[in-house]
């Protein structure tokens, strides 16, 4: 019973992701997010943070894994509320459109 529900959930998520890709909405959302983040200075903040990390570790010893591990939580936290709201709104609209089909 639980397994089948999980299955159904997973199926549904896969279907939604499929739709996001097929319609190109995912690409649009990603571009929108990128532009908004650059606009609001998120990128500059993260860059400053990166410099600290790199100086700390030394230029030669920086790996992508280290960076991702350090940056991702910070990056998530630094996204401004307005950007988050706008993005969520667009996702909800998308879901509503395709759920009502």
């Amino acid at each position: 019973m639980v397994v089948s529900k999980m299955n159904k959930d997973a199926q549904m998520r896969a279907a939604i992701n499929q739709k996001l890709m097929e319609t190109g909405e995912r690409e649009r959302l990603r571009e929108l997010l990128r532009a908004k983040l650059i606009e609001c200075g998120w990128k500059d903040q993260l860059k400053a943070h990166c410099k600290e990390i790199i100086k700390e570790k030394g230029l030669e010893h920086v790996t992508v894994g280290d960076l991702v591990a350090e940056i991702t939580p910070k990056g998530r936290a630094l996204v401004p509320d307005s950007v988050k709201k706008e993005l969520l709104q667009r996702i909800r609209t998308f879901l509503a459109q395709h759920a009502s089909l």
């Binding site: 990166c50 991702v68 991702t72 759920a99």
Partner: protein, 354 residues
């Protein structure tokens, strides 16, 4: 697919919200990952710290944001109202107009040597008569103001009687000659245009005279142009210069035409008896001014060599050659080979005629 969509619509709001959050987190992570790759690449390629400078120099190059200053902190417009004093005529001229002024004032450039000559000639003629002086003033003004120069160009293009001169071989030529003769009294003072060499055929008698008092003026056998060097140019002898002056300025040789024999046939014979006799008299002469003026040699040498006896010459001409001057000069300006506007004679002469 249909089944899934049906089930999707059946989801409650909290489920949809969770999915939305999930997608959002996905997107943010995506951006973070992209950023990490970017930074990593920059670090490994060595350009990550390139835009870093020490704070001191950053302060030096800070963008200035104050009214009245540009971004470098300098006062702008400081050159706008600068005036330069011309070393030649001591006028103060706006900096933006200084170069054009200097070109005319100092007589450099192709066109301006002629203008400068005319200015000199005008200043020599200053004490002639009242009407003369007015004309000279008018010409002077034209030298100095840019706008009137433009106007002059416009006027040139407006004048229909210039058109036939574009093509000396056109059948309308003889007609245009007549037309020109009728218009002699209001000849255009804007007679200079941008020509390189000085072709004596395009010059009126006044111009010729002023030119010959300042320049060598010997006619080259090859180019048929006048030498524009100084009166003492080493390329030509004094004898040559004298010959040219006698030829052009001698009272019996006012006609500044060398090639009249070439074009005799195209002239309207009804023009005037004087013109015809002049043509016949001068028709065979080809750059042999000494022949035509030999009898007057001693008389003409004086002002031929640059002394300013324009006054005496003027009166002489008025007395004995009034009828010839008009026809001769119009003939001269008509017979030129180049598509240039003719050089109408100075109005003062023709005021007297009419």
């Amino acid at each position: 697919m249909k089944m899934e969509e049906m089930s999707l619509s059946g989801l409650d709001n909290s489920k949809l919200e969770a999915i939305a959050q999930e997608i959002y987190a996905d997107l943010v992570e995506d951006s973070c990952l992209g950023f990490c790759f970017e930074v990593h690449r920059a670090v490994k390629c060595g350009y990550f710290f390139l835009d870093d400078t020490d704070p001191d120099s950053m302060k030096d190059f800070e963008i200035v944001d104050q009214p009245g200053l540009d971004i470098f902190g300098q006062v702008f417009n400081q050159w706008k109202s600068k005036e330069c004093v011309c070393p030649n005529c001591s006028r103060s001229i706006a900096a933006s107009r200084f170069a054009p002024h200097l070109e005319k004032c100092l007589g450099m450039g192709r066109n301006s040597s002629r203008i400068a000559n005319r200015r000199i000639a005008n200043s020599n003629n200053m004490n002639k008569s009242e009407s003369d002086q007015e004309d000279n003033d008018d010409i002077n003004d034209n030298d100095w103001s840019y706008g009137s120069e433009k106007k002059a160009k416009k006027r040139k293009s407006d004048k229909l009687w210039y058109l036939p001169f574009q093509n000396p071989n056109s059948p309308r030529r003889s007609k245009s000659l007549k037309h020109k003769n009728g218009e002699l009294s209001n000849s255009d003072p804007f007679k200079y245009n941008n020509s390189t060499g000085i072709s004596y055929e395009t010059l009126g008698p006044e111009e010729l005279r002023s030119l010959l008092t300042t320049q060598c003026g010997v006619i080259s056998e090859h180019t048929k142009k006048m030498c524009t060097r100084s009166l003492r140019c080493p390329q030509h002898t004094d004898e040559q210069r004298r010959t040219v002056r006698i030829y052009f300025l001698g009272p019996s040789a006012v006609l500044p035409e060398v090639e009249s024999s070439l074009d005799n046939d195209s002239f309207d014979m009804t023009d005037s008896q004087a013109l015809i006799s002049r043509l016949q008299w001068d028709g065979s002469s080809d750059l042999s001014p000494s022949d035509s003026g030999s009898s007057k040699t001693s008389e003409n040498q004086g002002w031929g060599l640059g002394t300013n006896s324009s006054e005496s010459r003027k009166t002489k001409k008025k007395k004995s050659h009034l009828s010839l001057v008009g026809t001769a000069s119009s003939l001269g300006s008509n017979k030129k080979k180049k598509p240039k506007p003719p050089a109408p004679p100075t109005p003062s002469i023709y005021d007297d005629i009419n």
